[in-house]
Symmetry: C2
């Protein structure tokens, strides 16, 4: 399968939302109304280094991830690339798309001068843990979240 990755356009928001929902955690926590998702897409466009990527094959969007470049002082002023909201269409999992997607993220991170790539994964995604370890990621950190709503 040949997949190409590119920056999402505003017209892709509906397809990205469908992928976010096509997931055992995402199924219950997303909404139907596109308006807040379009607003978030517009907000991202105003945050330099915060990008939404889609993976396409045969004109269909079948994967997505968010990639954010974050400059900072720590680790000898290392710029970081952060991956978030990784999704692959459920009927296409286990075919190497995830590996291609992380390779795409890594290439973009290197091009942006990042020295580190990072992500957090919900503990319930046990298959994904093995996947990231296979790709050379170290589970060195604990990821904390706190709801502000």
């Amino acid at each position: 399968m040949s997949i190409s990755f590119r920056h999402a356009s505003r017209a892709d928001v509906r397809a990205v939302l469908a992928l976010l929902t096509d997931d055992h955690l995402g199924a219950t926590r997303e909404g139907d109304d596109l308006e807040p998702y379009h607003a978030a897409f517009d907000a991202m466009a105003h945050e330099a280094g915060n990008t939404l990527i889609v993976g396409e094959t045969g004109g269909q969007i079948i994967a997505t991830y968010q990639l954010t470049f974050i400059s900072g002082l720590s680790l000898r002023a290392a710029r970081r690339a952060q991956i978030e909201s990784v999704r692959i269409a459920s009927h296409l999992r286990g075919q190497g798309i995830g590996t291609a997607m992380i390779a795409d993220a890594e290439a973009r991170a290197r091009a942006a001068g990042c020295m580190l790539i990072q992500l957090t994964m919900n503990r319930s995604r046990s298959d994904a843990k093995r996947f990231y370890e296979r790709l050379g990621f170290t589970p060195s950190h604990i990821g904390f979240k706190r709801d502000l709503s």
Copy 2:
């Protein structure tokens, strides 16, 4: 102790670096040359929503953290606030400065419309884990890192 938190200026970079180094992990992984740290400070200034905060008491910078607002589509288009590089001067730990710092981050996150506040912590910081749990953070995620250097 009365602490005030404010955005760091470029002139604060040296003091922030001293705090980054005043740490059992940071002691070995930071450099002496200020130039890359100043460059990172300037890069942050071009990334909307990426801010460096310092805590001051009696004209001395005694704490710092980085706060980044990240818009995104997932979780009903929730904007996130991400805390990074939290440091308190070693001789002032255990006096409630951390709690004040997280409260400051939370206030800034809410003012920026964030629905979620998140951070990762190196597993070796076992005291910090209890600290964040006490403040209502849930250790729901595994944080992965991969060096690109």
